[in-house]
Subunit: 167 residues, 2 copies
DNA sequence: CGTGTACTATTGAGTTCGCAAGCAAATGTA
DNA sequence: TACATTTGCTTGCGAACTCAATAGTACACG
């Protein structure tokens, strides 16, 4: 890896660990996303975020989540979640449920069809993920990546998304 | 391998290393992207990919790259690159240059204005990246993440993107 | 030389997502 | 009670992508 071939190089090539890590993250995400998205879309008619949303809901207590919490868990904005769930609701995979205690809140709740669809997609999708990742990295290394990446912003909320909804 | 076939409500979250790593990658990317994109856009009028493109061009031999190589290096489609460069060309940051040896090829070449703009943005952007990442991870850990992530698909092409595609 | 296949780049159409703005409900202050 | 602020959600609009289709070019093969 020889980043700099600069004739009159004022521009500093990527070299610092942080920058290397960032670039690698960008590229790994781009490549993996495109690959996984393709097969998920083709085989089950779901986007990556559709799947992630369904999956987050399935893991949640009562199989439902406040939309705002879903947004945080998915690293999306509230508006992104509205649009995302629009499609899922239209497909009958998710339904809306109001919250008695806070009328501002709308729950996104997995339907039976949603559970079924997720289960149908799950095996193949997880298989794709595993083959993509395990092809190049050992289990131990994967764990290491996961540990490290989970300490970055964005991962923090994910664990509590299903529980912390005190509003 | 179904992540959550738990009738009695005992939530079994995604656990396999590959899945954990994938989820963490997704979230870290989403959160970091949004944060960095915001400040880059606000301070320099560049998107993340604008910056990455400029940066890749700056590192390349002769400060220019075939569009197809740029696409691979950025994990974008050729069409995505056409659109991306459209804006950069309109802004005078990049110009087109034809290839004598292969008339299909169009080079994207950094202009002086492009170099200047990149340099102006570089310091702040790199600073944002570093503070975002180094806030939570040590240098050694960052290096580890980079090493691991670079072994994933998508990173492989980056090294040769600046060079030759005659393969 | 002509033909078929592969490759580079662009364009049209459609999708996804964020920002800004706006509404409704909750919360704080007096 | 009255009013300001914050929070959750939705919508208009625009930006950035992708896919499919298209045109021009390169190259191997007969």
């Amino acid at each position: 890896m020889t980043p700099q071939a600069n004739p009159d190089g004022e521009v500093r090539p990527v070299a610092r660990p942080a920058e290397r890590a960032w670039t690698a993250l960008l590229r790994a995400h781009g490549a993996a996303t495109r690959r996984l998205s393709g097969s998920l879309q083709a085989e089950h008619g779901l986007t990556l975020n559709d799947y992630e949303a369904l999956s987050a809901l399935a893991r949640a207590d009562g199989r439902r989540l406040k939309r705002i919490d879903l947004a945080r868990g998915l690293s999306l904005t509230p508006s992104g979640v509205t649009r995302l769930l629009e499609g899922l609701e239209r497909a009958g995979l998710v339904r809306r449920a109001s919250c008695e205690e806070d009328l501002r809140v709308v729950y996104a709740e997995l339907t039976e069809a949603g559970v079924a669809r997720l289960e149908a997609a799950s095996c193949g999708h997880v298989g794709s993920i595993r083959s993509l990742l395990e092809e190049r990295l050992s289990e131990g290394e994967l764990e290491e990546v996961a540990d490290l990446l989970e300490r970055l912003p964005g991962a923090a909320e994910s664990g509590s998304a299903a529980g912390d909804t005190s509003g």
